[in-house]
Every structure is written in C-alpha cells, then in structure tokens.
Amino acid sequence: MATDTDRQQPETGPAHVAPAPGVAPPGSVLRWALREQRRSLLLWSLAVAVVSGIYASFFDVMDPSEMDALIGSMPEGLVAALGYDQLGSAAGFLESTVYGLLGPILLLVFGITFAARTLAGGEEDGSLELELTSAVSRRRVVLERYAVLVVQLVVVVAALSIVVVALVVAIDMDVALSGLFAGGLGLFLLVLALSSLTFAAGAATGRRVIGLVVGAGVAVVGYVANALAPLLDDGRWLEAISPFAWYLDGDPLVEGIDVVGFGALALVAVVSLGVAVTTFDRRDLGV
C-alpha cells in the first residue's frame, strides 16, 4: 500500500499507513467465535439428539399397566416432585423426561459453560486481548459473542426437536406438533435465560467461575424449588420464582406456549444481555 509517491509526504502522516484505517465489519467476531465452536457444537448436538432419541423411544416399549403399578407404589409426593403423575400419556412422558430433565440438564451444561467461557474466560486467560485491542468496540464483542450463544442453543434445540418429532411420528405418539414446538421454544428460553445470567455475571466481573456459580446456582435452586413446590402446603411462591416452573408449569406440550412464563424467561435473557453490555463497557478489562 505504501507507494513511492506516498513516501514524499511525511507531513500529512506516515507513508506506510493505509488510506482509510479499517475497523472490523459487523459479524467478524461472531464468525470467528462460531468457527471456534464448530466441533463442540456438532458433538453436543449429536449427544443431545441421541440421548433424546433413546429416551423418547422408551415410551414405545413401556407397558402402561406396569408403569401405573410402579407409580402407584411410589409416595404421592415423590411422584408429583418428579412430575411422573403424567407419565402415562405421551405428552406427559416427554415433558418429564426429554423436556423436563435430560434436555435441560444437557443443554444447561452446554450453555452455561460456553456463556462463562466465551467472554469472562477469554478475558481471564488473556486469549481475548488481541480481539479487544483490535478495531472493534467492546459492545460489539459482547453482542457478537452473545449471538454465538443464541445460535448454538437454536442448533442444539433444533437437533433435539427433529429427533423427537421424527419419533413421535414413527411410533405414533399422541402429541401435537404445536406442543412440541412450544416445548422446544420453552426449553430454548429456559437455557437461554440461565446462560444469559451466566454471561452477564461473567461480563460484569471478568471471572469465569463467578459466571458458572451464578448460572449453575440459579439452575439448581430453580429446579429444586419447582420440584418441592407441589409437596408443600404453601409452595406456590416457590413456583413463582423458579425458571423451571415458568417453562414447564403451563404444560407446554399439551397447552402450548405459556405467554407469561415464557415471557418471564425472555425478559431474564434480555435484561441480562443489557447488564452484560453496560458493565463490560465500563470497567477495566483483564485485571
């Protein structure tokens, strides 16, 4: 870029400098961060699809009368806590296994660890320093790395949904596709909300571990609160504060989208993102 004619004008600035110093075009951080996640995303999608497929297909080999006998032998409170009172129906079965337990656990591990690593982790181990000192704003780094979280959760939930839909059709389970869509959306929003909390805690503090503790802590407390609520006389308030209750209490696979519950999950995600952007923009990085 430095030509000999440029070199003759030292007064106007260094000759070797490109005419218009370039800043990063939108998406450059997203593209790189997604590329770094390729292999991990593929493996998680496969794992979630396989495990969901195996569990969903148990419904076919399950003998309803044996199942009822088993449930009848369990304490009523335990049955309610596990959400097994609906186990006899296809929707109830999927809601308490794939959508209520395995899906959330696998996706939360994936989402929370990524959310803690992508910003706070990279800042902590210094691997983000070249990116953050390049011609890209902090705000863009936060938004594009968050977008990578969203894209990945969409992909993994889609992998789960495709397998479940295929099995529902193949073994003729009595679940509406709209119910499966609502279940998938709810699962996505649950994991997005808790991953966003993780992301925001990491963005605000620059500590990966704090992100992990916040995200995993809220997930565990929320799960326990939702499980305990039916056992207590005065348990309604536990459901009111549990993200799991916001997701599952409206029986999405049967009743469809629960606007209030899902809305609450989406709100947590949006507020968390706002906190992440503003705190990360204001503080010292890499200290």
Binding site: H16, V29, R31, W32, D125, S127, E129, L130, V136
Partner: protein, 320 residues
C-alpha cells in the same frame, strides 16, 4: 493546548494514576512521545509498564490524570483509534485448533482487511509455519504470531510490551530490523522492556519507570553519560583512600590492599580531571577506565530509594 503544538505528539500522559483497590500501580506518570521516534519504556515487572500500555489501549481506565493517543482519549477514540495502532501484549495468550494463518486472517478482518497482503512476507521473515495449529506452537512461535499481527497492517503507532521475550537472538535482530523499517516509514514505536540492552539499540529516548513514576527520561546518549565510567587504579604502597572518597563524581569506591599495592575501583560520573589529579602524586602501576553499560544505570535506579532520586537533579536530567 491541542492543535499545532500537539501535531507532533503521538502519546501524551499527564499525571496518570491507576489504583487497583489499595494498590497504586501508577502514581502520577507523565510522558510525551513524538511522532516518528522509537521510545524505550524500561522497568522491571510490576513497575507499571503494562498498566500504562493497557490504559493507552483502553483496556484500563485511569483513576486520575489523562492519556491521549494520536490526539484522542483512548476510551473516546474507540475502534477507529485502535485501527491505527499495532499492539503486542506483554502476556500473549492464544489457544484453539485454528492455525496461526486463520488467526492472523481473523485479526486482519478485525482491522477491516488491513494487513493481509503483508502476511506471507512477515511469516517468511520470522520463519513461522502458519499452517500449524496455535495450540501446538511453542512460546517463541506464539511470540512471532504476536509480532506479525502487530506490524502487518503498517500501523502509525506500534505499542509493544516486552516484544523480544521468547524470541531467539536471530529473530530479535529481525525484529529490530522491522522496528527500524517501520520508523523509516514514519511510524512511532513505543516499546517496553525490563532489559535496557534490548531497547538501547533502536530507541532514541528512554524512560525508566519505578513504582508507577518516571524516574529518568532522556535520550540514550545523555543516559550513557549519566551512566559514567568504571575506573580502576593500582598504586604502589599505601594510599589514603579518603582523598578519593571525598572527590565529587566518585562513587562506590572500593579499596583492596595486597602485595604492597593499593587498588582503588570506583564509578566516575562527569569529568575525570579531579580524580586524575588526586591520583598523580602517587605511583600508578596500572589503570583502566571504561564506560558503564546503561544496564548499570538502570540498576542504580532500583538500588536508590525513589525519594532520593527525585531530589537528585543531575541524574533525573531535564527530560520531564
């Protein structure tokens, strides 16, 4: 105090203070770096070098004082300002399956495409195999990637934190050539080190930082004069060392008496006249005088308490 007077100033720090909790990392640092110069920034680990540098790149925000880079406050300059800077971090961390070619291309994209054309040339000069995955690279090879990404887009300001750490001597020379080329093209280079010999070859001016303050700032020639000489005399018989000890400019006098001779060694700053006249009445058997390394001066600053240094006008010179 902007505009014309500042046209030639690339980095300006005024009373820069940075606290981490109760720890004061920078304690009123002042610095002015002019366009086109190669400036050495010296101090041991923990003296505030990296803190200063990371303020210039808006990774840290000062507690008090003001920093300006290319006429902009770092936080306000944002991406457009950083596009004009090439930065090599002091602790370069990179990981991942990607090859260094892919990482460098990513960094090119983050600079709006600037630097792609120069990648092959730089990789060849530093002997970097860009097809290897980053995670398999040695510390030295990672440092090569760091140097290449700092220079590739021909920035008008290079901020290099401990640039030669991890590079073998041959590549250190290649690096210094690169610095001189950048300077010849009009770039300004601000480089830190904890070893003076690394920067004195290319730098015109050098600042020494200690406990978050600049304790010495001068051009390399003047610093060399301040560094003084090592002088040694061997006299016949007994010589009264007190006469020499009293001379102005004579420091660190040591006396060794053996085999009927007296050997005096000292550090001499300034003119040798008084010392020679004090020596003349005795019978001198041997003598030597050689310039001290700048490294020694650097070490002096870390031996003498900071308060004393600030009072010592002769050593701190007129640089600030």
């Amino acid at each position: 105090m902007t505009t014309a007077a500042d046209a030639g100033v690339v980095i300006r720090a005024e009373g820069l203070v940075k606290d981490y909790g109760d720890t004061r990392a920078l304690d009123g640092l002042d610095l002015t770096i002019r366009r086109g110069e190669v400036f050495g920034f010296l101090g041991p680990n923990g003296s505030g070098k990296s803190t200063t540098i990371r303020i210039l790149l808006d990774q840290l925000r000062p507690t008090a004082g003001r920093a300006e880079v290319l006429g902009h406050v770092p936080a306000a300059g944002g991406p457009a300002l950083r596009a004009r800077i090439g930065y090599l971090p002091g602790e370069l961390a990179m990981d991942g399956r990607a090859t260094s070619q892919q990482l460098l291309e990513h960094l090119v994209r983050l600079r709006g495409g600037a630097g792609l054309a120069r990648l092959p040339e730089l990789a060849e000069r530093f002997g970097l195999d860009t097809s290897r995955s980053i995670r398999t690279l040695s510390k030295g090879n990672r440092q090569k990637v760091g140097v290449i990404q700092a220079f590739m887009h021909r920035p008008e300001l290079l901020i290099l934190d401990e640039p030669t750490s991890g590079l073998d001597p041959l590549l250190q020379r290649e690096f210094l050539t690169l610095v001189r080329e950048a300077q010849a093209d009009g770039a300004t280079v601000f480089m830190s080190s904890h070893v003076l010999s690394e920067v004195e070859i290319v730098a015109e001016r050098v600042a020494i930082i200690r406990q978050g303050r600049i304790v010495d700032l001068d051009d390399v020639q003047t610093l060399r004069r301040h560094a003084g000489q090592h002088v040694s005399f061997t006299f016949e018989g007994h010589v009264d060392a007190g006469v020499f000890r009293a001379l102005a400019g004579v420091e660190d006098l040591e006396v060794e008496v053996a085999d009927g001779t007296t050997t005096l060694t000292c550090v001499l700053r300034g003119e040798p006249d008084a010392l020679l006249k004090a020596a003349a009445p005795n019978r001198a058997l041997r003598w030597s005088a050689h310039d001290r390394e700048l490294e020694d001066l650097f070490l002096d600053h870390y031996r003498v308490p900071a308060a004393e240094l600030r009072a010592d006008e002769e050593v701190s010179g007129d640089g600030h």
